[in-house]
């Protein structure tokens, strides 16, 4: 399965600032998925990022708040903009290489907004 390097692993940020999370995959993948997970909760899909086109956002998530870049088939970034304490969460990127295998996740970014 793919190996994903996700950075940063954690950060504490001031409200009103922005944080960019990076995910580097060791192989080319068509789609990358960005999730948010509150501690002790399930995963909520933020958006799906396809190389060369705008990301597709899920209900409740907008591009101005969570801009995504996908410059090539191995890399993507998610920015959390104008942060508030409600944005404190774990953010995860994910990919899937093969139809008969599941999704691989990055190690996650634990964000605390103060």
């Amino acid at each position: 399965s793919a190996v994903i390097s996700q950075k940063p692993s954690r950060d504490i940020c001031q409200r009103g600032t922005s944080l960019t999370i990076q995910c580097q995959v060791d192989s080319q993948v068509t789609m990358m998925f960005w999730y948010r997970q509150q501690p002790g909760q399930s995963l909520t899909l933020i958006a799906t990022a396809n190389q060369g086109s705008e990301a597709t956002y899920e209900s409740g998530f907008v591009i101005d708040k969570f801009p995504i870049s996908r410059p090539n088939l191995t890399f993507s970034t998610l920015t959390v903009s104008n942060m508030s304490p409600e944005d404190s969460s774990i953010y995860l990127c994910s990919v899937r290489q093969w139809a008969n295998y599941g999704y691989t996740f990055g190690s996650g970014t634990r964000l605390t907004v103060v």
Partner: protein, 115 residues
């Protein structure tokens, strides 16, 4: 909309006891996937079931996919402390195609094991 329910939400067992978590989808699934997330970790893929009535085993873990492809279960025999974590089931939405279908996730079952 399409939903995946998972029960129980929490389970506390003594080491050596068995454990089962159940997953039910509001719609028929083309496949169902199971993941394990250790405390402080990220979800790790365990298995994918595709066929109606399919049963797969991984050592002490037994996974089943219902005949109607709407429900699934994960059973752990003789739990160990290394089994601690949250177990999620997830199924693809009806929309999209192939690897690009997004997943609908269950809420997860958190397993605690007393040594």
């Amino acid at each position: 909309g399409q939903q995946v329910m998972q029960i129980p939400q929490y389970q506390h067992v003594q080491e050596g006891e068995d454990f089962t978590t159940y997953c039910n989808s509001s719609t028929t699934l083309s496949n169902i996937q199971w993941y394990k997330q250790r405390p402080g970790g990220h979800p790790v893929f365990l298995i994918q079931l595709v066929k109606s009535g399919e049963v797969k085993k991984q050592k002490r873990l037994t996974f089943q996919f219902g005949e109607a492809k709407k429900n699934s279960s994960l059973h752990i025999t003789a739990t160990q402390t290394t089994d601690v974590g949250t177990y999620f089931c997830a199924g693809p939405t009806a929309l999209g195609a192939g690897n690009n279908r997004k997943l609908i996730w269950g809420l997860g079952t958190s397993l605690a094991v007393n040594p």
